[in-house]
């Protein structure tokens, strides 16, 4: 494991945060929502200057969304995943545009695909989807198969051997 990653994890633990290394050059840290801006600014000041990606995970069993801020330190060749959990029934988050202007695009995308409202982001207009009227498509309670069969008019036809497709259940 990289020495700097180890040090960073220790440092974050001293700040009362759940942090753990994920490999030789990567670590994650779980941050409460109200401390996100502070921690991200701290990370930026201490080497993790590059904001790579903002991802979102829908933990439907926990009724929570998880936002993952993916940061990189090119000097140390290390990566940080800053994770924030927000409740599913009130999907709201502060925009991080004041730290990285780049966040604007990622927040707009996540607003479109998960319906999370980013407070302070000036432009959350639809980005990729044309005329989308259903619930955001990447939420786990959105049934893509039913949607696809309904919109594209799937018809079962025994005479031509067309059967209804079945979803494979992964354990």
């Amino acid at each position: 494991m990289l020495e700097s990653v180890e040090k960073k994890v220790e440092e974050l633990k001293r700040m009362n945060l759940e942090a753990k290394a994920l490999g030789d050059w990567q670590f994650e840290v779980l941050v409460p929502r109200e401390r996100t801006a502070e921690i991200l600014a701290y990370m930026k000041a201490t080497g993790y200057k590059t904001f790579i990606h903002l991802a979102c995970v829908d933990w439907i069993d926990d009724q929570e969304f998880e936002l993952v801020y993916n940061l990189e330190n090119y000097d140390e060749k290390a990566q940080a995943l800053v994770k924030v959990r927000i409740p599913r029934n009130k999907p709201e988050m502060e925009s991080m545009m004041s730290i990285w202007g780049l966040c604007q695009v990622y927040e707009r995308e996540i607003h479109e695909f998960f319906g999370i409202n980013f407070i302070g982001n000036p432009n959350l207009k639809p980005f990729f989807l044309d005329e989308w009227l259903d619930i955001p498509p990447l939420r786990k309670d959105f049934d893509t198969l039913a949607f696809s069969q309904e919109l594209f008019e799937f018809k079962e036809d025994e005479s031509h051997g067309i059967k209804a497709p079945k979803r494979i259940e992964y354990k």
Partner: protein
């Protein structure tokens, strides 16, 4: 007059100028088909830069709703006689995107497809074979997709509008949507 038609069909079948609509992975199979290894120019097929100049429209792979709209514009800019080749299983039944919310499943609901090439992806040999097959169809005067499109325009237009101009949610009622968002 039928001899004249046969003659024009003979020439049309030997000079396909194609416009490849490169959205999906099928676009990757075209460079080897064009260049030295398989050389489709020996069948008179060459790539063209604009829809005005093209005779055949290759739809290389999956089509999202956004690109379907552009594909229809492109098709309608082409001059008759024109033919559409559906490429790979994505244009036939959705392929690996069978349950995707944003990828159409059957291309010939929206545009008149003259020939499908099966495979995921079809190899260059299959593409060359499809050109020969299309030539046969054209010479026999059976590839009439563009006439079908004009004749059944209402049906095609209704299908296109159904997916492209949605006015209400597909699965839920509007009040439920506003509540959850």
């Amino acid at each position: 007059m039928s001899e004249w038609k046969d003659l024009t069909n003979f020439f049309r079948g030997r000079s396909f100028w194609m416009l490849h609509y490169c959205t999906g992975c099928g676009a990757m199979e075209l460079p080897p088909t064009m260049t030295s290894r398989w050389d489709m120019e020996r069948f008179g097929v060459i790539p063209m830069a604009t829809p005005r100049q093209a005779d055949i429209l290759l739809v290389t792979g999956y089509l999202s709703l956004k690109s379907l709209k552009r594909l229809i514009y492109t098709y309608e800019q082409m001059h008759a006689p024109k033919w559409v080749l559906g490429f790979g299983s994505c244009t036939i039944n959705g392929g690996v995107y069978w349950d995707s919310y944003n990828v159409i499943e059957r291309l010939d609901k929206y545009l008149p497809v003259d020939l499908y090439i099966a495979g995921c992806m079809p190899r260059p040999e299959a593409i060359l074979d499809s050109f020969k097959k299309l030539r046969e169809l054209v010479e026999k005067g059976e590839a009439k997709g563009y006439e079908k499109y004009v004749k059944n325009y209402e049906w095609y237009k209704a299908n296109q509008d159904r997916v492209l101009k949605r006015t209400k949610p597909v699965l839920q009622k509007p009040e439920e949507v506003t509540r959850s968002a």
